[in-house]
Amino acid sequence: MSVETIQAQLLQFVNHEILGGGTVGPDDEVVLDGTVDSLGVARLLGFIETEFSIRVPPEDVTIENFRTIATMAGFLYQEDGTETAQ
């Protein structure tokens, strides 16, 4: 899966499912600005697991990896690649 596809699906989930029709962009700091709260983070992780079959280990659920939708997509793309390679 391409990084663009992952990003598009994450954006769709945040805007449609979490916000019920939001206008978040890939570079918005959704957690820092409060758009996504801790429950939202948990829902995102659930979505990532079912949608991309990636279980993000707790130690990787950090601000650095989840700052924006774009950083999340980049991180997941890498994770996806690592898993496929194994």
Binding site: E17, G20, G34, S38, R43, P58, D60, V61, T62, I63
Partner: protein, 531 residues
Amino acid sequence: MSNRSHAYLLPHLIEQAASARPDADALRFRDGSLTYSELYGRACALANGLLEDGMQAGDRVGILLHKGLESAVALYGVMLAGGTDVPLDPFAPTARIEFVLRDCGIQRLVAAERTATTLLTLAEAGLELHTVFGVPDNGALPYRVVPWSAVEPLSQTAPAIATTEQDLCYILYTSGSTGSPKGIMHTHRSALSWAEVAAATYELGPHDVVSNYAPLHFDLSTLDYFAGARAGATTTIIPEEVTKFPASLAGFLADEGLTVFYTVPMALIHLAQPGLLEGRDLDRLRLVLFGGEPMPIKHLRRIMELMPTARFVNVYGPTETNGVTHHPVDAIPSVETEALPIGRPYPNVDALIVDAGFEPVPNGEPGELVVRTPTMMRGYWGRDDLNEHAFHTRTPFGGRPDVYHRTGDLAAMQSDGTIRFLGRKDRQIKSRGNRVELDEVEAVLISHPLVREAAVYAMSDGEGLLEIRAEAIPAGSGVDSGELIRHLRAALPAYAVPSQIVLRDSFPRTSTGKIDRLAMEAEALASGVNR
């Protein structure tokens, strides 16, 4: 600076600490810090700025700030000017912030530059304010604007104000069952009593580094700020985003060398996930306090193993009363333990478990927990309808009335003298530590023009915590779950908004035709929505 021997107002705590240990850190946040002397000086300057601006004793001043050092300056500055703090949630919908500002007649705000959009929306909504402190004066707002740069040069001597310990020091707004938040009024005496009992009970001292997990509008923060100041300890404010990422929080606890961590069960449950705390240096952590909702035993066992140097204490007390009871967990509970008790009353607290006629029930029997304590609120702001039910006056001897607060919590006294929490008399719940009135969510949902009927209930998330579920019967077509979620998000804090709204044609009913929410909960459980 005076050597005040008798502290009877909250700001006296920082005045005393500034006099005893002026260069000790009162607060830390990210790379910054404020010593007690700096905190006291800056708070006095803000107080003088507020008075120059025409603020009168007793005025409510809104604090619209994100977690940070300015929060503490604002908190004490308003009190030093004789005012009442009203901490607001900067992440709340603007409509909710506007409701609070109007409800208690706020004329002045201390706000963050980051809230510029909220401020502009409030102005466009026609909200009248006298002054906004703490934001740059760029001419965008129809209010007087006083930036921090204009406050800093002001006198750092406390203004002379005739405030007594009976006066209000803050109002905390919380979910209200009729669809609007209600303001819980605390006095200097009630807040100071809690600071004193907490500092003494947990032997807080100048060498403690106390966490601040919750923002100011959440009453968990009162222990961090006020008991911390009472002890002359350092309070370390945990950045908002760190609280949302357990891996980041685990690193923070170790790196900051915290000795006291006060939080909600959810945070501990998340920290106990494998790979987060193992190998971290947490040896300085001596005390972990948790409260707000029941802590599941299986998670408590794990976190206690991961933080072996810390004593764990279950803390109980509604925002209306501050801490009422606590239960130190002196050994890792066995697997069979059903639920953790909320424990025994703090000193200076009279806690009774009573029946509907306000008669104490026998030990082991369920009843309502009622409390008489100097730490309890004055009442709900402008809500005599609620105040009538929130208090019960008993006149046992010689006509001297004792006033109890009715917590609405159901409890039972156990044979070992500890109290067990059983649930609520009404439909208030705690979801991830946040207090939510299900009836408020329902009232907002049904206010949507395309909703005919709505039912909101809570069910277990399978991990021992509660989650909010909502179902609605639409009035005609053209409405979907997303539209209703947007509607809820415009009025309620994010934690009170369910993750989806189930639309259906009819609801299960009781024999009298009422919506049967218990049946709906059973249906949802049976369909395995959480599995």
